[in-house]
């Protein structure tokens, strides 16, 4: 009883010892904050990676893919059907995207992924990353509300806004076409002498800049017109005139502002850059391509190293927050990519885009979502042994294996940080040791008294050990509270810090997060707190042993 009473009294009367555990407190608080922020970042990152990839991926070793997705899916169903919640085929291939911006053509190397959006969204829900389903913020203010709700099925339909912008864009492109045609600069061969006749033409062109005027010459080829450069066919100017090709051209008389068959979700990093407005000092995100516009995609055909080109309409821009993906991925409709690469052949030569089914073509990978991710190991093993193990046609990996180095690097970073911070707490332990030694020296006479009154050496030792433990409990307890409060109000603290320093401490343009993500793992918090307590107790072992070994007579004589 006296042990705890004395430990308690020492705790309340020796403020110097409390000062010595401030470093423990700060160490514990820092460890909690750092761990929470790091696991916040890494769990956000994992979420994003996981949303782009899927639980388990079966990929063909060759980029030509496997010809029979039906068979492959049936095989997977047979092998691991019980574990699978959903699967979706994809075609992944390297390629290039190009688009016109500010009078020049921009080229970007990309990975083109052919997907079935519904299936893909089931396997890994990436619909929330579409910009049309997000709020757009600038400097913390919502500048645009989501255009569609998250629950809407993910498909290739354009939003109303995208359609409007497409219309505008096409009109502009047509005007540019006409303008270039008429006023093409000297480097291009011009049909007309670039003298005064140009002025005349300009007057004549005025109505052409609208869409009313029909230009039959631009419609000579059906395939040409599908690239969106043709002018809408207006009602015949001459009422009595009957076009003998009317029936044939009916199909081609579609709305030229209608989007193309090829549709893409394009990564935000590919088509945007942050732009600092010099006048206001605010940073805006400048988009070079908006949904509704067309981009050119180039990739290779199967079988032989030949380029495959196609145009596609941008349906949406996606921004996952992983720059590795946002600056690299273009999602395309599966059938278009198969068609362009010669993985799928159309049965209808007049309208090749009609009635296509990806199941008839080839795919390069199958993404699988499991009912329970804990089964991933077993599923991967079964698939590896079940799917043509000798030929090496397929590679089966979980998303963690595919992103192994990145995840390992993050885990390593956090482990090293933890070791360093724990060393700080250990250093604090030596501070406790020194101060405890002093306290034992100061209390020498009291120790002698206690021994004279019959206290055993063990009892005296327990006084100082429990003193150390209670210091550790107070220190790490305050540290835990401080750390948790810091984590809880980290965004407010960030704002205050930004205000005080005049610099943005946490720039959302860099990190993609609006707020600093934090995840408090109770296990980690407990572990840190217990570790700090153990260090405090260990630091008090030596002084406590010294106190226990004191000879009562000498201790009593000590002045």
């Amino acid at each position: 009883m006296y042990k705890f009473l004395l430990a308690n009294r020492y705790l309340r009367t020796r403020y110097i010892a409390l000062a010595s555990i401030v470093s423990v407190t700060l160490g514990v608080a820092t460890m909690i904050v750092v761990n929470s922020v790091m696991s916040g970042f890494s769990s956000q990152m994992k979420d994003r990676i996981h949303a782009i990839l899927s639980d388990v991926m079966i990929e063909t070793t060759s980029t030509d893919g496997t010809d029979d997705p039906r068979k492959l899916m049936a095989e997977v169903d047979r092998l691991v059907g019980g574990y699978v919640e959903a699967m979706t085929p994809t075609v992944e291939i390297y390629g290039m995207v190009s688009f016109d911006w500010a009078g020049q053509t921009v080229y970007r190397p990309v990975t083109i992924v052919g997907i079935d959006p519904q299936g893909k969204n089931q396997v890994s829900p990436f619909a929330p990353y579409m910009l049309s389903r997000q709020e757009i913020l600038e400097d913390g203010e919502v500048v645009r509300a989501p255009l569609r709700s998250l629950s809407e099925p993910l498909d290739w339909e354009l939003t109303q806004e995208a359609q409007d912008s497409r219309k505008e864009w096409i009109e502009w492109e047509q005007f540019k076409e006409q303008f270039d045609h008429q006023y093409g600069d000297n480097s291009e061969p011009s049909l007309l002498p670039p003298t005064d006749s140009g002025i005349q033409q300009a007057v004549a062109l005025q109505p052409i800049s609208g869409v009313e005027v029909a230009d039959p010459f631009l419609q000579t080829s059906g395939t040409e017109s599908s690239d969106g450069f043709s002018v809408d066919t207006a009602p015949p100017a001459i009422g009595e005139y009957v076009d003998p090709f009317e029936n044939q051209t009916k199909d081609e008389n579609y709305d030229s502002t209608a989007p193309l068959f090829g549709r893409v979700y394009i990564g935000a990093g590919l088509v945007s850059f942050p732009y600092k407005d010099k006048a206001t000092g605010k940073t805006h995100i400048m988009y070079m391509v908006k949904p509704g516009q067309d981009v050119n995609l180039t990739t290779i055909k199967t079988g032989k190293p030949e380029p495959a080109n196609f145009k596609a309409t941008v349906t949406d821009v996606f921004k996952s927050g992983m720059s590795e993906y946002d600056a690299n991925l273009v999602y395309c409709n599966l059938e278009q990519l198969q068609l362009a690469r010669g993985m799928l052949f159309s049965e209808n030569p007049t309208d090749p885009t009609k009635g296509l089914d990806w199941r008839n073509g080839a795919v390069t990978s199958l993404q699988i979502k499991l009912k329970n991710y804990n089964d991933a190991g077993a599923v991967v093993r079964k698939l590896r042994s079940g799917l043509d193990p000798e030929k090496g046609t397929f590679q089966v990996r979980t998303w963690e294996e595919k992103q192994g180095p990145l995840l390992e690097a993050v885990a390593m970073e956090s482990a090293i940080l933890n070791v360093l911070l724990f060393l700080i707490i250990t250093v604090a332990g030596f501070g406790i040791l020194a101060i405890f030694y002093m306290i034992v020296v100061e209390k020498t006479r009291d120790i002698g008294i206690l021994k004279a009154l019959g206290a055993s050496s063990r009892g005296v030792m327990v006084i100082f050990l429990s003193y150390g433990l209670s210091l550790g409990i107070v220190g790490s307890g305050v540290g835990v509270i401080m750390g948790l409060l810091f984590v809880r109000y980290i965004n407010e603290i960030e704002k205050v810090l930004s205000m005080m320093t005049g610099r943005k401490v946490f720039d959302e343009a860099i990190y993609y997060f609006r707020e600093i993500p934090t995840v408090v793992d109770p296990f980690t918090v407990a572990w840190v707190a217990i570790g700090a307590m153990i260090i405090a107790v260990l630091a008090s072992v030596l002084p406590a042993r010294r106190a226990a070994k004191l000879h009562p007579v000498q201790a009593l004589r000590y002045e």
């Binding site: 009883m1 006296y2 042990k3 705890f4 009473l5 004395l6 009294r9 020492y10 009367t13 006479r445 009291d446 002698g448 008294i449 206690l450 021994k451 004279a452 009154l453 019959g454 206290a455 055993s456 050496s457 009892g459 000879h551 009562p552 007579v553 009593l556």
Partner: protein, 245 residues
């Protein structure tokens, strides 16, 4: 171990020292403090040990009270040798049999007077046991404090007390464990003569009323004369055993 067993039927001497030798090392030299000291103490006796500074009287008291071990010689309590017992048993004996009063009071500065008085009981019982009986113990401590005349200052810290009050508190602390021997090392050495006289009266009263065995160490002849028997020590040897006047 609650109370040491008293087996002998013939009621041997309560506490006795047999040929005690004690030396301290000072650098290379051995300094002999006690050289073959014998002493006997009957139950209920008031013995004083007198001597010059350095004559070994405090050391003799420490050896009797098991605070120290003799180099040669034995200490017997009620017919049992106690100086060679294991450390934990000696700790318990100190707690149960002996009560100490020191010249400089030696109260624990962090505790209140009441808590200081309760210290031996806190040491004796486990935390749980003490907690269960805390009311009983507190009452007992209050009664003893009243007996030594301190019942109005129970919640004061030692630093807020006068020397006489501190010594009274120390005596109360020594008494609460109901010891059979009270060992007092210069109990009046730090007090003025009037306060010292009050303390001496208190000790006499305890000796007479409660038949408490008291060993008092002092260098003051006048104080020593108040005891029943005097042991004179000089340079580690017993000079004479006098009956007090």
């Amino acid at each position: 171990m609650s109370q040491p067993a008293t087996l002998s039927m013939t009621q041997p001497v309560h506490l006795c020292a047999k040929a005690l030798d004690k030396a301290y090392r000072k650098g290379e030299h051995q300094v002999y403090v006690l050289r073959g000291v014998d002493a006997k103490l009957e139950r209920g006796e008031f013995l004083s040990i007198v001597g010059q500074s350095g004559s070994g009287k405090s050391t003799l008291m420490h050896l009797l009270g098991l605070l120290d071990e003799p180099d040669v010689g034995e200490v017997w309590l009620d017919g049992n040798r106690i100086d060679n017992l294991p450390a934990t048993t000696r700790d318990e004996l100190r707690n149960h049999v002996f009560g100490f009063v020191f010249q400089f009071y030696h109260l624990l500065p962090e505790l209140t007077l009441l808590e200081n008085v309760l210290c031996p009981l806190m040491i004796r019982y486990s935390a749980w046991e003490y907690w269960k009986r805390r009311v009983e113990f507190r009452d007992k401590a209050k009664a003893i404090a009243k007996q030594v005349g301190l019942d109005h200052r129970l919640s004061h810290r030692p630093s807020e007390l006068s020397g006489g009050e501190m010594q009274r508190a120390a005596i109360a602390r020594a008494l609460i464990g109901e010891p059979s021997v009270l060992l007092a090392d210069e109990p009046t050495g730090n007090l003025d003569s009037q306060t010292g006289g009050e303390i001496m009266n208190l000790l006499h009263q305890l000796n007479e009323e409660k038949k408490l065995t008291i060993v008092m160490v002092t260098h003051d002849e006048k104080i020593a004369q108040q005891a029943q028997r005097i042991v004179r020590l000089s340079e580690g040897r017993i000079q004479s055993l006098n009956e007090a006047a």
